[in-house]
């Protein structure tokens, strides 16, 4: 129960922190941390415009997307407390729920009959396909330590040895940070600030959504940030610490995660569009290398 509350709390703050860091580095005046929240409330007060080319798919897709992300958030544990729902091998359900959300967003983008949205939908489909193996191999690395494979059990068993968790944690941290950048369509895959359609992936898919739909799409992307931040923090926060230290360190890590994203976004340029697939497959390659090294650690590869 605790984890979903904190995920929602961090989801509210993370986009504000990212915007603040980016504007500070860019030498601009910082917006308030609550500015994204005000934007959402403004959207909730507006009506909607639908295009006559679209069909019922366009109306139901944002709702299914938001539900899938919220549902996926229910599974994520926080530092030893299990998520709201938890069962064996639930991370597969988690990953495929997110894939369901992406499927619906892709077809809703194609529904508008616009060439721009088609471009974005196409790239989104390819990149999310390429980043799937990275997530599964990383979780496979964690599953090498235990037979009970629910999300929470994987982390609990990782923390049984500190040396282990540092080694795997560092490599996994790196990969998961970049996976979250790919999933949320941030640099260096996609630039959320440019509104040139030839260079966008995610922002262009939601060009024609408005009002309530746009608001829940934004909230869903914040939730995704919070979910990945929680996954990252679980590598560091141990379940053996007292509960208030866990909460404090969790919030600190979320702030750190948001700041890192802000810094990475300010200082890196977006990849050339054609180089994106190979960049994403590099993440899977690093995940596989981590898996192989974990085989050494668990002494399946016998070295002396």
């Amino acid at each position: 129960m605790l984890s979903i509350i904190f995920i929602i709390i961090s989801a509210i703050f993370i986009p504000g922190v990212i915007a603040k860091i980016k504007s500070k580095i860019g030498g601009r005046r910082m917006p308030s941390v609550f500015q994204p929240l005000f934007d959402i409330i403004r959207l909730f007060k507006k009506g909607a415009i639908y295009s006559p080319t679209t069909s019922i798919i366009f109306k139901i897709a944002p709702i299914i997307y938001f539900s899938s992300v919220l549902m996926a958030a229910f599974f994520v544990p926080m530092a030893g407390q299990q998520g709201l729902l938890s069962f064996d091998v639930d991370f597969v359900f988690f990953a495929y729920l997110l894939a369901l959300g992406k499927f619906m967003m892709i077809i809703s983008a194609m529904d508008t009959g616009s060439g721009f949205e088609g471009m974005g939908a196409n790239r989104e489909a390819l990149y999310s396909m390429l980043v799937e193996p990275a997530f599964f191999v990383l979780v496979g690395t964690l599953a090498l330590f235990t037979q009970n494979s629910s999300f929470q059990d994987l982390y609990v068993n990782l923390h049984t040895s500190t040396q282990l968790s540092i080694i795997i944690g560092i490599a996994a941290l790196y990969v998961i940070t970049y996976i979250s950048m790919v999933e949320n369509s941030r640099m260096p895959i996609d630039d959320p600030k440019t509104h040139l359609e030839l260079t966008m992936v995610h922002e262009v898919m939601i060009l024609d959504n408005s009002g309530f739909d746009l608001a829940i799409i934004h909230i869903a992307s914040w939730l995704k940030f919070a979910i990945y931040g929680t996954i990252i923090s679980n590598f560091v926060v141990q379940s053996s610490w007292p509960i208030y230290i866990q909460i404090v360190s969790y919030l600190l890590i979320q702030m750190g995660y948001a700041s890192t994203i802000g810094i990475l976004e300010s200082f890196s340029a977006r990849n050339k569009m054609g180089k994106n697939p190979q960049w994403i497959i590099m993440l899977s390659a690093i995940a596989v290398v981590t898996f192989l090294t974990t085989l050494i650690i668990t002494q399946k590869i016998i070295l002396n």
């Binding site: 080694i167 390659a285 690093i286 290398v289 650690i297 070295l303 002396n304």
Partner: protein, 209 residues
């Protein structure tokens, strides 16, 4: 703790397969030097002060500072293009690098000799294989030099694998190899660059006469 450095070294190999910019190659070589220092530091049982200074010299100073700055000078002097595109798409190179790391790990599993420290054998073999592959796919002499240096890093690790105490002779020999290679090729590239205005391999092979 050595395992952390093994992962980091393998990650630099993956980045070598991924990147196309020449500056990035130099940067990655420097990082590899630092990682090698970390591996050596954590694995030597007893360290004589002289050996320790020698290794420090070799890894950090030579591999991470001297050679990269020399390469940088050569790059600027010849005004090399920023990017060097390989002849096999990068996508497949990354798959090749992962498979070579996998094979090298499996190989070191099956070599269970009491005289070998197979811990270091894992990535040294992968490094050698990848260095050779790197030379095969790039067409620029400069990149060949970089590939040669990757192979030398792999051999350095191999020398760790076969000995407990770092034998001075092996290290001197490796150092000499590196010096000669870098110096000769560097001067070579400078001279060719001056006379010829290009260091592309296909144009140099026309020099066959």
């Amino acid at each position: 703790m050595t395992y952390l450095f093994i992962i980091l070294y393998a990650i630099t190999l993956v980045y070598f397969a991924l990147s196309e910019r020449v500056k990035k190659f130099i940067w990655l070589l420097a990082i590899q030097g630092i990682i090698l220092f970390g591996i050596v530091f954590y694995s030597l049982n007893e360290i004589e002060i002289f050996d320790f200074i020698f290794i420090l010299l070799e890894t950090i100073i030579v591999k991470s500072l001297l050679i990269p700055s020399f390469l940088n000078k050569v790059r600027k002097h010849n005004q090399l293009k920023r990017e060097d595109e390989p002849s096999i798409p990068v996508f497949y190179s990354i798959i090749v690098v992962v498979i070579s790391i996998l094979i090298s790990f499996l190989l070191s599993n099956y070599l269970n000799d009491i005289h070998l420290h197979t811990q270091y054998f894992t990535i040294s073999f992968a490094s050698v294989i990848f260095g050779i592959y790197f030379i095969i796919i790039h067409k620029n002499i400069y990149s060949h030099l970089v590939g040669y240096l990757i192979i030398e890093n792999g051999i350095f690790l191999l020398s760790l694998a076969v000995g407990n105490v770092m034998p001075l002779m092996v290290n001197l020999a490796v150092l000499l190899d590196v010096f000669m290679g870098v110096l000769v090729l560097g001067i070579f590239i400078n001279r060719i660059g001056d006379t010829f205005n290009s260091v592309k391999l296909d144009q140099i092979s026309k020099l066959k006469d």
